[in-house]
Each structure stands twice: as structure tokens, then as C-alpha cells.
């Protein structure tokens, strides 16, 4: 396990920004740190839209925002002193994408973002995973689930940083 190979999972939220900033603060003076910024694409259900066009438009907008966020996260890390060549960015497209790119080697089924993150964590041999947390109530967790809780419960052979 390489604890300085760090996977930071982001989703465009403020919690994710805090997780990126924290990671930058912690690792800026480590010459060995390698950071993988990971975003798992998850589009809204097709059922929530009256027609294909409005769904596709929403998906395009979502993708644009996530990719811009990844770029911004890279700037944050570089701004904290992490060398650009030590930062990798990965955007895992949705298997349910309305776009032509879903036939890539790895795509996200979108049913559990946490499981997708854990799968990349294992493949990449990262020793640390970082996620932001909203601080949801028990009732919210029951209904909506929590990516950070699932990662805490299911991550093995690694360190988990949960940034509040």
C-alpha cells in the first residue's frame, strides 16, 4: 500500500472543494505525493425528463460542470504547491450516457458512486482515499444514502480521510 498515492473523489460540491484543499495543504511539501483526482459521472435518471432532448441537454450541462470542476480542483492543488506532473485527473463516464462514449473500457453504472470509487482505488493501488462529507442526518442517510459513509464502511487496506 502506497499511502502517498492519494485518490481524491470529487463531485462538484463544496464538500469536494474542501477535500481537495485539505489534500493540497497536507501534501504540498511531500515530493513523493501522487494525487489522482477522480470524478464518477452520474447523470440524472432518464425517467425524470419528459423527452430525450431535455435529458440529453441536462447530461451535457452536468458533464461540462464536472469537467470544469476537475480542472478547478487541479488548479487548487497546483496553487498549494503540488507539481502538475504529480496530479492525474480521471473522469469515468456513465454507462447510461446518451453520448457515444459509453463504450469505453471503464464506465460507471451509477448505482453506487462509493463502489465505483473503491474499484478505482483498488485498481490504482492508492493507499489513501479522500472524500468530502456534507454531514447528513441519520434519516437523510437512510433515504438518500451517503457516499462517504459507504466508503468508510467498505474501504479495505487503505486510509480514509473524510473532510467535513
Amino acid at each position: 500500500m502506497d499511502c502517498k498515492k492519494i485518490l481524491v473523489a470529487v463531485d462538484g460540491s463544496e464538500n469536494a472543494t474542501r477535500a481537495v484543499e485539505y489534500t493540497g495543504e497536507m501534501m504540498h511539501d511531500s515530493a513523493e505525493a501522487r494525487i489522482l483526482l477522480l470524478c464518477i459521472e452520474r447523470f440524472p435518471d432518464r425517467d425524470l425528463f419528459p423527452d430525450e432532448d431535455s435529458w440529453k441537454k441536462n447530461c451535457e450541462e452536468h458533464r461540462r460542470k464536472m469537467q470544469a470542476f476537475l480542472q478547478e480542483a487541479r488548479f487548487i492543488l497546483e496553487g498549494k504547491g503540488i507539481p502538475s506532473e504529480h496530479i492525474d485527473v480521471r473522469y469515468v463516464v456513465s454507462c447510461k450516457s446518451p453520448f457515444a462514449d459509453r463504450a469505453v473500457a471503464r464506465c460507471s453504472h451509477g448505482t453506487s458512486i462509493a463502489q465505483e470509487i473503491l474499484a478505482v482505488l483498488k485498481e490504482e493501488g492508492c493507499g489513501t482515499v479522500v472524500v468530502g462529507r456534507r454531514g447528513v442526518s441519520k434519516a437523510e442517510e437512510f433515504l438518500f444514502g451517503s457516499v462517504s459513509s459507504k466508503i468508510m464502511h467498505h474501504a479495505r487496506a487503505c486510509t480514509v480521510w473524510v473532510v467535513e
Binding site: G110, T111, F142, L143, G145, S146
Partner: protein, 322 residues
């Protein structure tokens, strides 16, 4: 009045007053204007519109203008036609407001999936002249399970020992039906007491209404499981037990004073989950299942099967067919 409608009425429904004959409707997009006496033509069949469907809310009839009670003229059978209505609206669950979508496509998909499976309402989807997927539903002739349970004339202990095991057995079958949907990546989406009917003729438990869609992702089955938990609490308690009605139910001060905030449900802080404190003959194993829905729980069910795995031994303990 359309002469074609008058002729259809004369041929197929002579008892229907011809003076109410309306028009032939082939494009159902403007569902508000489809009214009593109109005839919806779909897939070569004709549906005489009798009235809009109503739902009782707070004792008041709430008309659903996109849902039409009809008579299929050729067969004489009663049908419910659900016309396309893409609606977004908030629903309130305890302190939460959840954005809900009405998806005709989702319901059409589930109707296909459960064709012939009598644990669910049956029907088919026929596109109208504009391609709107109209769901033509068979009517489930039955009564709401909760009303049946409320009507059982017995005190709780008698009910629990004599009636509940059979009810639990059938309810678990209904849970298995939901688990089947989940295994095909579909949600029911609107699991409520009034959406589980007991068929008059067979006594079978059957789910209705699958058109709600939500944007839940990390816990896709959470809302369905929450709904099942609510029904289970109702069935085990022979009704709801709330801070408002507990005092009327004749429990001792000692029992009432033993209730703590953790004993109430996660979503509704006035609704009791720890029924074992009121009814000590409820086996601990069953009460533990109920406690999964309480504020005090630290473990949630992610899948219906997890709940069923814990309910099966309870059924055996109660002497039901487990």
C-alpha cells in the same frame, strides 16, 4: 356530440345515456378536456370515459384529471386509462421535501416487466395518435390492506396471535415482489398503505401505481424500503401509534413513561417504532426489524432481501408459514 360516438354507444353500451355522448379522442395530450361521454380510441379499441379518478386526501376527493375511469366498449370491461402527464412536484417526508417526477415511461416499463405477475396491477401501454404512451390498466377489485386490518374486530393481542402471522406471510410475499423489481433495477417509487390492495376474489396482495420517479442514487432502494417499513409497523401494531393517539389506547403510565425519542421512527418523530414496549408479546426478533426504522438505529437495510432475511425467522416464531 359526435354521431360516431352515438353509434358506438348504441352498439356497445345501450344503457349509457346518449345525451352524454361526446367526441372521439385520438390525441390525449389535452387530458383536462377529455370528459364524461368522450370515447378514447386506442389501438383499434374504444374506451368510453365515465369519470376522472379521485384519490382521498385528508377526507377530501382529490381529482386526478389525467386518470380516466372508462369502459372498454368492445369487451364491456372497466379499465383505468392513465394519460401522459409529466409532472414534477415536491412530496413531504417528515422534515424532508423530495422532488418527485411522474413518469409514464417508467410505469409502462414496469407494466411490461410484471406482465402476468399477479403481485402487481396489470395493464398494457398503447400509444395514442400523437405517440403518448397511454397505460390501459385492469382494475384490481380489492380493498386497501390497511383498511382490512383496521376492520378486524379483535384486541391487539388476539389480532397479533391469530391474524397477524397470516398477514405477515402475505406481506412478505409483497416485499418479495418489490425485491423482484429492484433486482431488475426498477423502483416502485410510491410504496404506501393505499397502494397495496387485497383482491376480493383471491385474497392476493397486489401493488398498484408505479409512476413515481426520484433522483436517489447512493441508496436507490431507500424510499421503497422506508415505505415497506411503514406498512410493516402499521400491520404489526394494527394501526399507527403516535404521540397523539397513544394516550387514548389505554396503556399504563409506566409503559408510556418508558418511551424515549429513540423509540420513534426516523422520518416521523411522533410515530412509534418500538412497539415491543407497548406489546411485550411481540417477539424480540420482530421488534428488532421494526427498530431498523427507528431514530435509535445505526444499521439500515440497503436491500429488501436483508429485511426479509430477518422477517422469515419471525414468521416461524409466530407459527406462520415460514
Amino acid at each position: 356530440m359526435s354521431s360516431e360516438v352515438s353509434e358506438l354507444i348504441r352498439a356497445y353500451c345501450p344503457s349509457f345515456s346518449a345525451k352524454h355522448a361526446g367526441r372521439i379522442v385520438e390525441d390525449t395530450s389535452e387530458f383536462m378536456s377529455v370528459d364524461h361521454g368522450d370515447v378514447i380510441r386506442l389501438g383499434g379499441r374504444h374506451y368510453l370515459v365515465l369519470r376522472d379518478e379521485c384519490e382521498q386526501r385528508f377526507g377530501i376527493d382529490d381529482p386526478k384529471y389525467w386518470v380516466k375511469r372508462c369502459r372498454e366498449m368492445e369487451s364491456g370491461e372497466r379499465r383505468i386509462l392513465k394519460l401522459v402527464f409529466h409532472e414534477t412536484f415536491p412530496i413531504k417526508l417528515g422534515d424532508f421535501e423530495i422532488r418527485c417526477y411522474r413518469s409514464p415511461e417508467k410505469e409502462a416499463r414496469i407494466l411490461n416487466l410484471v406482465r402476468g405477475d399477479l403481485r402487481f396491477m396489470q395493464g398494457e401501454t398503447i400509444p395514442d395518435a400523437k405517440g403518448n404512451p397511454v397505460r390501459v390498466l385492469d382494475i384490481v377489485r380489492g380493498r386497501r390492506l390497511d383498511l382490512r386490518v383496521e376492520d378486524i374486530d379483535a384486541d391487539h393481542e388476539t389480532y397479533f396471535h391469530e391474524h397477524f402471522p397470516g398477514i405477515l406471510n402475505k406481506f412478505m410475499g409483497a416485499c418479495e415482489a418489490i425485491s423482484f423489481l429492484h433486482s431488475r433495477w426498477e423502483k416502485h417509487g410510491d410504496i404506501r398503505r393505499d397502494h397495496l390492495l387485497v383482491e376480493y376474489e383471491t385474497g392476493a396482495y397486489r401493488w398498484i401505481d408505479f409512476d413515481y420517479a426520484f433522483d436517489f442514487h447512493e441508496n436507490p432502494w431507500g424510499l421503497d424500503i422506508f415505505g415497506l417499513g411503514n406498512i410493516l409497523l402499521f400491520l404489526a401494531g394494527k394501526g399507527e401509534h403516535t404521540t397523539q393517539n397513544l394516550a387514548e389506547k389505554g396503556f399504563s403510565d409506566e409503559v408510556l413513561s418508558s418511551l424515549e425519542p429513540d423509540d420513534f421512527t426516523l422520518m416521523f418523530a411522533n410515530r412509534l417504532a418500538n412497539l415491543g414496549k407497548l406489546y411485550p408479546y411481540i417477539p424480540r426478533e420482530l421488534n428488532n426489524v421494526l427498530l431498523h426504522f427507528s431514530i435509535g438505529t445505526y444499521v439500515f437495510y440497503d436491500h429488501v432481501e436483508e429485511m426479509l432475511d430477518e422477517l422469515r425467522p419471525c414468521l416461524r416464531l409466530l407459527g406462520g408459514a415460514g
